[in-house]
């Protein structure tokens, strides 16, 4: 049984040994709430991560209701004065930016953008490349060889170039950023999934299933997919954070979403190009937002992995240590 370990976005490894479906089912708790409570008690850091993610989702959903101003609106005070680079205070709790917009509103709406980009990239990217990975591992020599070469080539070229080129061609818009991030995820996700499936393929029960004549599709659906589901979940949480950081880097290089759209990465870039010492709040708050959210996703992913993976290996073992 091969154990070459693959690496996820968060640096965690997922080991190739997987147990058959039945044992997982026998561990399922009576009610989902109890499962959540149990999870929170065992993995407090993970619970913190979960709370952060929840806060993000709530902020994103309620953004138009809770934000004091329109995020793209230039504030005009009495006698037409525009408050450019005003420090945080009573009127503007996080201050204003380089053209006189309220930063609180922009940070709140930024949650929408980040969530949209993150979810979009993950739902499309992780799903698509997941399927590719499974197919590549299962379909056999030639297909596998070709896919592997493409993956290797993409990992050898600095991802930056590929992503820059894509953005330059497509133009800067939210959806194009998602496309670029999805393509940037191709290599690592396909690689990870493929090696997982490969190791599962060699499991005794799968070999046995093939021996008694089960068709490949049935084997994939009944045996391989459910185990990979846990991996999918872990990948999804990590790549959500990855997508948010990549969006920020794209903005820094000038090829992210349009500059007046309130994305945290865009705000960081504008602050970097302005003056960090003159108006540090313009960069601190979006930077903090990115950091907290990515941290949250990573902590959650960590905890999920800790919880799910021992179960993947064997029911009792995970409870030790």
């Amino acid at each position: 049984m091969a154990r070459k370990q693959e690496v996820l976005a968060g640096g965690e490894t997922v080991v190739g040994s997987v147990v058959p479906q039945t044992r997982i089912e026998s561990d399922a708790p009576a009610s989902p709430w109890i499962a959540v409570a149990r999870f929170a008690r065992r993995k407090p850091l993970g619970a913190v991560g979960g709370l952060i993610v929840l806060a993000l989702v709530v902020t994103a959903l309620l953004a138009p209701l809770i934000s004091p101003y329109d995020p793209r609106q230039i504030i005009r005070e009495a006698d037409n004065r525009v408050p450019v680079y005003v420090a945080p205070g009573a009127a503007y709790p996080m201050g204003t930016d380089h053209v006189g917009r309220d930063i609180v509103s922009r940070v709140i709406h930024g949650a929408r953008i980040s969530l949209y980009v993150g979810l979009g990239a993950v739902l499309i990217g992780v799903t698509a490349w997941f399927v590719v990975g499974i197919v590549s591992a299962y379909a056999g020599r030639v297909v596998d060889l070709v896919v592997q070469r493409v993956v290797d080539a993409m990992m050898a070229v600095p991802g930056l170039i590929i992503v820059l080129a894509i953005m330059a061609v497509l133009g800067s818009s939210l959806n194009n950023v998602i496309i670029a991030i999805v393509i940037g995820m191709l290599a690592p996700v396909v690689r990870t999934v493929r090696s997982q499936v490969l190791s599962v393929k060699e499991q005794e029960y799968v070999v046995a299933a093939r021996a008694i004549g089960a068709r490949s599709a049935r084997i994939i659906v009944r045996h391989i997919m459910p185990n990979c589901l846990a991996i999918y979940l872990i990948l999804a949480t990590y790549y959500l954070g990855f997508a948010i950081i990549l969006e920020a880097s794209l903005s820094f290089l000038g090829v992210g979403v349009p500059p007046d759209v309130p994305s945290w990465g865009g705000m960081l870039t504008a602050a970097a190009q302005g003056h960090i010492t003159k108006a540090p709040w313009a960069g601190i708050f979006p930077g903090l937002a990115i950091f907290i959210v990515v941290l949250g996703f990573n902590l959650l992913g960590d905890a999920l992995r800790d919880v799910l993976e021992p179960r993947l290996r064997g029911a009792r073992r995970g409870l030790m240590r």
Binding site: R3, E12, L145, I161, I162, A272, F291, V294
Partner: protein, 320 residues
């Protein structure tokens, strides 16, 4: 083993070719060609250029030939050892690249060494003391390393130094042979910035890998036999745990080279990263292709060596 090695080595060439074709294709899809960049794409204020002038320059530079002809001619030159002449600087590409290549490699190696030296002890401690305060601290620390964009960290460092210490590394660059002290001064900050991100990843990999290995049956046996915990960790666990770290460092090196691009421009390091950004802005595809070729070759060779080493160290892998 021999067959495995030969197979993997042979696959190196087509992968390299795919990488260059990929970049070439992307380059020509992007709007704006080298002629446009030369006449009107320079930064700063420009005059007005007419389509006839553009066409004239394109013909002179050979840019109006079909794409596959341009690629084939470039490839033919490369196979003869000629990396071409820069469209923007009009000097031979190798001339510029040879010094810069060493600088970037030196920076990348420094960053990885720093990262691994800090990450492995951190990860091991974190694994051995799982779920204690030390573990939480180190996990939060490594989460910071992942969640902080590299460019942001670099900018913050430059500002800190300039405003609070009134000191910045000197502007002129010296190689490690000429002036080791100056060289280290120049490279230490960008290396640390890059290492911070890499450190976070590697620490996590070490941690989870150690956790895996520590649960293994043979260790339970060792503990059951009554061996001291330190001995268990040191002798048995660490060796096996470090194998994935090796693999990860191979992938990390490729990612690091991407980060080098950003960090070099912030810290004024005359490496390939600044040249890469430049060649994109100036649409100098000759230089771009050469850089991609070099980077891809380095990464692929490195991963090849790691794969082969892994094959030697872990016999089970060979039969995949």
């Amino acid at each position: 083993m021999g067959k495995y090695a030969i197979r993997r080595t042979l696959l190196f060439i087509p992968t390299l070719l795919v990488a260059t074709i990929l970049v070439f294709t992307l380059f020509w899809i992007v709007p704006g060609d080298p002629a446009l960049a030369i006449l009107a794409g320079g930064e700063g204020d420009t005059g007005s250029v007419s389509p006839e002038q553009l066409q004239q320059l394109r013909q002179t530079l050979g840019l109006d030939r079909p794409l596959y002809v341009q690629y084939a001619s470039w490839l033919a030159n490369v196979l003869h050892g000629d990396l071409g002449t820069s469209l923007w600087y009009k000097t031979p590409v190798w001339h510029q690249l040879k010094d810069r290549f060493l600088v970037t490699m030196e920076l990348a190696v420094m960053a990885i060494v720093l990262a691994v030296c800090a990450a492995v002890p951190l990860g091991v401690t974190s694994a051995v003391k799982q779920d204690t305060g030390l573990d939480y601290l180190s996990r939060i620390f490594s989460s910071i390393g992942i969640a902080l964009p590299t460019f942001w960290l670099g900018i913050l460092i430059v500002y800190f130094l300039a405003y609070f210490f009134e000191w910045l590394p000197p502007l002129g660059y010296a190689t490690v042979w000429d002036d080791p002290l100056l060289n280290v001064q120049q490279l230490i900050l960008p290396a640390l910035t890059l290492a911070f991100n890499d450190l976070a990843f590697t620490a996590r990999v070490t941690r989870s890998s150690m956790l895996e290995v520590m649960r293994e049956d043979y260790l339970r046996t060792a503990r059951a036999k009554g061996l001291v915990e330190l001995r268990v960790v040191g002798r048995h666990a660490l060796k096996n745990a470090l194998l994935p770290v090796l693999t990860v460092s191979g992938y990390q090196f490729a990612r690091l080279l991407g980060g080098v691009i950003i960090v070099e421009s912030i810290f004024v390091v005359p490496g390939m990263g600044t040249l890469l950004i430049d060649s994109i802005i100036h649409r100098d595809f000759i230089v771009l292709q050469a850089i991609v070729l070099l980077i891809a070759a380095v990464v692929l060779i490195l991963n090849l060596m790691i794969d082969l080493a892994y094959g030697v160290l872990d016999p089970r892998v060979r039969y995949q």
